[in-house]
């Protein structure tokens, strides 16, 4: 292994470990589970429907059926780091809300069981369904 490969490999391992520990933490953190709660949709649907939407989304996008993939897409790397350090759930939720708005503005939508959803909120539903399996 040359020096460059070693460095890249080490960075990836650290990142992987970071994501793993983040996912592990988030799975076991009560407050963090709030990230998987689509705020607006929760006013309209019960948790059973949100789970069902999540499962339907994962059927459409089976490649995303992993906590870390979904989490990566819910928060940017920087926001994820911030959240890991500060545990500021309100800030993280607000970042997700902005991302949802941006999805709608940029045609980044998906139709799941007839619902016209932002990709981000569909991922929240998917994450919610994974956390509840």
């Amino acid at each position: 292994m040359n020096r460059r490969s070693f460095i890249v490999g080490s960075i990836l391992s650290v990142m992987g470990a970071g994501v793993f520990s983040f996912v592990h933490w988030i799975r076991n953190s009560g407050t963090a589970r709030a990230l998987a709660q689509p705020r607006f949709l929760s006013q309209l649907c019960d948790s059973g429907t949100i789970q069902s939407l999540g499962r339907a989304y994962l059927k459409l996008k089976p490649d995303e059926k992993k906590d870390d993939v979904l989490l990566n897409d819910l928060l940017t790397e920087k926001n994820r780091k911030d959240f890991f350090e500060t545990h500021d759930i309100i800030k993280a939720e607000s970042q997700i809300e902005k991302k949802i708005q941006c999805d709608f503005a940029t045609d980044n939508i998906v139709v799941v069981q007839g619902w016209v959803l932002s990709i981000t909120e569909a991922r929240q539903c998917a994450f919610f369904s994974l956390l509840n399996t």
């Binding site: 607006f40 949709l41 006013q43 309209l44 949802i100 708005q101 999805d103 709608f104 503005a105 045609d107 939508i109 139709v111 069981q113 007839g114 619902w115 016209v116 959803l117 932002s118």
Partner: protein, 523 residues
């Protein structure tokens, strides 16, 4: 002046300068426009002043395509025509409706929006609405409570509607027609044949019949067919003595491109904190006579390559008790008249208190979508004859995948916009959820808006009439009404067909002055 053709001595020859066939909305509007001119106008109406079954049976025909309303009750065959069961919805066509759109085959009118615009004022007066101005800002100034949803104006706009009382042309304009010295209304005067010269270049006369066994001939310098889209096409096709394929049908276009609006419940709109949306309330129109529907902007339609359409908001609780239109329309014309009268009375009672206090969180989106012009969607003649010996009509209403895609995309765009504005979410109905499925739902209906069977075009290879509604190849035969529409637009056709009629009327006045000179029939 009125005469009952059933009481006129048989084989009479009736003569005038202009002969208008059909005393429905277009025919009556045109006749009124000729009052006090020095020309003798013959106005022919197949029925009398009341709806009757025997007359309606002349309109009976088969439908071999998409589910549709019974032809014998779809249109009313009496003085006043289908205004007798009109709901009164008025809105003009949009500029995009007149344009050639690369993504819509056979789109484009030979006239521009601006060419029709001056005639909307006259049309608005006929249907007794407050104004020919349909700009949202105009109405907002009149009523500041008309607050729009916070959608992006580059994506969605508020298409305004006004509501006619609705004006029933029969009772409303009967006196004016009967008192006019130069208008000669003949009731029970069913046109059964249009007779041309041997070279099929000029209409010489039309033949009329009735159930009393009387037959007459009507001679005029100029003929205007204003019998509705199905009957206009049927009459041209059936008049095949001199032209075996039918009059104006050298290019096999008469009867093709039959269109209606696709009217159907399409999705639910959930708005958890909806408050003041009076602008969209369907029941308030009984008081303000105006409301808006959501429509895609021209640029968004172009970007998504969709047809033009609108969606209205209907509170869920109203829709729960509402059956799809297609399931409720009777094949008995008298019943349909009663149904509409009941609906109009109901409309006045549908008042839920002050709109700002009314809380409704769930709405149904009711979509009215333009139908793409489709040559396979058509009227043809049956072998079966009606009681007066005219072949009955066969309707083959055919829809396309673009029609369904456009309905779906309109819901998605509304969903995106309410999502972006953080005010709601949209859920498509099950029949729209699979974008690969082109099947139609059984609840789909038309808007009772028959259009397009004698379409207007630049040349005879693409249409039946020219930009002045004159049948290609004939010097003195004109079509009036929505049969001339090359595309249907999103709006109900009434206001626009009246505007087009007034435009035709203007043209004819110039035509008769130029062609008749002193040879007119002195009234």
């Amino acid at each position: 002046m009125h005469r009952d053709a059933a009481k006129v001595e048989s084989h009479s020859v009736i003569e005038g300068d202009i002969c208008i066939v059909g005393a429905g909305m277009a025919g009556i509007a045109m006749a009124l426009d000729w009052i006090n001119t020095p020309y003798k106008v013959i106005l022919l109406e197949g029925g009398g002043f009341e709806v009757d079954h025997k007359m309606q049976d002349l309109y009976r025909g088969k439908n071999v395509g998409q589910r549709y309303y019974p032809l014998q009750s779809l249109r009313l065959h009496y003085f006043g025509g289908t205004s007798g069961h009109w709901a009164g919805f008025c809105s003009p066509l949009d500029p995009i409706d007149f344009k050639k759109r690369e993504w819509v085959d056979h789109s484009g009118w030979p006239i521009r929006y601006e060419d029709l615009l001056p005639y909307y004022e006259q049309a608005a007066k006929m249907v007794e609405i407050n104004s020919s101005n349909f700009d949202f800002e105009y109405w907002k100034k009149k009523d500041p409570e008309l607050v729009p949803l916070p959608v992006d104006e580059k994506v969605l706009w508020n298409k305004m509607w006004q509501f006619s009382p609705p004006t029933r042309f029969g009772p409303r304009y009967k006196d004016a027609i009967l008192k006019a010295e130069n208008i000669f209304l003949y009731t029970y005067a069913n046109v059964v044949n249009v007779e041309t010269d041997d070279s099929v270049s000029t209409v010489k006369e039309v033949h009329i019949k009735n159930f009393a066994g009387k037959e007459h001939r009507v001679k005029a310098k100029c003929f205007v067919m204003a019998c509705c889209a199905i009957q206009n096409a049927r009459m041209l096709l059936a008049s095949n003595r001199q032209a075996p394929k039918g009059i104006g049908n050298d290019h096999d276009l008469v009867g093709r491109f039959f269109m209606d609006h696709l009217e159907v419940m399409t999705s639910s709109l959930f708005m958890p904190s909806a408050r003041q949306i009076k602008l969209y309330y369907p029941w308030v129109y009984a008081h303000t006579k105006v409301r808006a529907e959501l429509a895609m902007t021209e640029s968004k339609q172009e970007f998504l390559k969709t047809l033009n359409g609108t969606a209205s908001l209907m509170p869920k609780e109203i829709t729960l008790s509402k059956q799809p239109n297609i399931d409720t329309f009777s094949d008995d014309a008298e019943e349909t008249l009663e149904m509409w009268e009941k609906m109009n009375k109901q409309r006045d009672k549908e008042y839920f208190g002050r709109s700002e206090n009314y809380e409704c969180r769930e709405f149904e989106l009711f979509t009215r979508m333009e139908q793409s012009p489709n040559p396979s969607s058509r009227i043809q003649l049956d072998n079966e004859l009606d009681e007066l010996g005219v072949p009955r009509a066969i309707l083959n209403w055919r829809l396309s995948s673009l029609d369904k895609k456009s309905i779906r995309l309109l819901q998605e765009v509304i969903g995106e916009e309410v999502g972006r504005a953080e005010i709601g979410r949209v859920r498509l109905m099950e029949w729209l959820q699979d974008e690969t499925n082109n099947d139609w739902t059984p609840i789909l209906g038309g808007g009772w808006h028959n259009m397009g069977t004698t379409r207007m075009a630049d040349n005879p290879k693409q249409g039946v009439v020219d930009a002045n509604c004159k049948v290609f190849g004939l010097t003195n035969l004109y079509m009036a009404g929505s049969s001339c529409f090359p595309t249907s637009g999103a709006a109900n056709p009434t206001l626009s067909l009246l505007a087009l009629t007034f435009r035709l009327s203007d043209h004819l006045k110039k035509w008769v002055m130029k062609n008749l000179g002193d040879s007119r029939n002195i009234v």
